[in-house]
Symmetry: C2
Subunit: 200 residues, 2 copies
C-alpha cells in the first residue's frame, strides 16, 4: 500500500464528516470533491457508500468511547458535566452520528455504537435522582434522552456559530446541567468550583 493512498482514505473520511453534516445524504460526488478526488476513486477505498458510513460511525464511536472512558467522579452531576466536557472534543464525530441516529437504515448501527455512552449518562442521572442532586419529576430514561438532545443542540450551536472554544465548552455543560434541573446560577457555580471542568 502506498502512503498517499492512506492519506486519501483519511481525506475521504474527513470530507464525509463535513459534507454529511451539511446534508445527511450528500452524494459521493460532493464528498469526493471535498477530498480532492474523483467519485470513481472513492470505490478504490470503500466498496459501497454504506461501507464509508459504517466506518465513519464505528470509528467515531470508538473515539467518543475513549474520550468518555476515563471520566469518573463521586458526584453524579459533576460526572455529567465532565462527560459533556469531554464530548466537546469530538463534535464532528458526534454530529455525524446524530445525523444518522434518526434517519436512514444505519440507525441501528448508530444506536449500538452510542449505547455505552448512553448507559453512562443514564446511570449518572439515576444516581443523581436518588441522592437528590438531579430532578426527580421526569423519568430517568426520558431525561437521559432530553439531556442528549440538549448536548446536541449546544454542540450544533457551537459549530454553526463558530463560538470560541472555551465558550462553547462551557455552553455544553451549562445546558446539560440546566436540563438536569440546576438553575443557571447553580450550574455556573458548580462549573467554576470544579477545576477539572475548566477549559484546558
Amino acid at each position: 500500500m502506498r502512503r498517499d493512498a492512506v492519506e486519501n482514505r483519511e481525506a475521504l473520511l474527513a470530507a464525509a464528516r463535513i459534507e454529511l453534516n451539511l446534508d445527511a445524504d450528500a452524494p459521493l460526488e460532493a464528498i469526493a470533491a471535498r477530498a480532492g478526488l474523483s467519485r470513481r476513486s472513492v470505490y478504490g477505498h470503500f466498496a459501497t457508500r454504506d461501507d464509508l458510513l459504517r466506518e465513519l460511525i464505528t470509528s467515531g464511536a470508538t473515539r467518543v468511547a475513549g474520550a468518555v472512558a476515563g471520566v469518573d467522579h463521586e458526584h453524579p452531576v459533576v460526572r455529567l458535566a465532565l462527560i459533556a466536557s469531554r464530548l466537546w472534543r469530538e463534535v464532528e464525530d458526534i454530529r455525524v452520528m446524530a445525523v444518522f441516529a434518526v434517519r436512514g437504515p444505519l440507525k441501528g448501527l448508530t444506536a449500538d455504537a452510542l449505547a455505552p455512552l448512553r448507559a453512562r449518562v443514564a446511570e449518572a442521572i439515576a444516581e443523581g435522582a436518588r441522592d437528590g442532586s438531579v430532578r426527580g419529576d421526569i423519568p430517568v430514561a426520558r431525561l437521559a434522552r432530553l439531556v442528549e438532545d440538549a448536548a446536541l443542540s449546544a454542540l450544533a450551536e457551537a459549530s454553526t456559530d463558530a463560538m470560541p472554544g472555551p465558550a462553547a465548552h462551557r455552553l455544553v455543560m451549562l445546558l446539560v446541567l440546566g436540563t438536569v434541573g440546576l438553575s443557571a446560577d447553580a450550574a455556573a457555580a458548580l462549573i467554576d468550583s470544579h477545576p477539572e471542568l475548566d477549559w484546558s
Copy 2:
C-alpha cells in the same frame, strides 16, 4: 368543485404530515397511499411536490401564529411558558416544519413562516434578561435558538413516546423554563402558581 375532492385534498395534507415526520423525503407514492389515493391523483390537487410542502408549511405557520397571537403576560418568563403551552396544541404542524427547517430546499420558506414566533420568543427573553428573571450569561439570540431546540425536543419526546396530554404539556414548559435559567423546582413552582398554565 365536488365535496369528495376537497376531502381528498385534506386527506393528502394529513397523510403528508404523518408520512413526512417518519421520513423527511417520503415519496409521493407513500403519501398518496396513506390518503387512499393513487400517486397520479396527487397531481390533480397539487401541481408539484413542492406545492404540497409549501401548503403544509404555510398553513401550519398560520395555525401556530394564531395560537401564539393572543399570548400576553407582564412577566416575560410566564409569557415564555404560555407560548410553550400554546405550542403544544400544534405539535403536528410544528414537527413537520421542524423537519424542513433544517433540511431540504424549502428551509427559507420555513424560516419566514416561523419568523413572527421567533421574534416573540426573543423579545420575551430579552425582556427577562433585563429584569433578571432570565439568565444573562448567554446572548439573547443564541438563547432563543436553544429555547427553540429545547421545545422541539420536548415535542418530539412527547409524540414519539405517546405521553399523556397533561404530562407532555408540562414537559414542554419545564424544559423551556429550564433552558432559560430556572431550576427544576422553580420552574415547577412557577407553573403551579399560574392557573393559566394549567392543562385545560
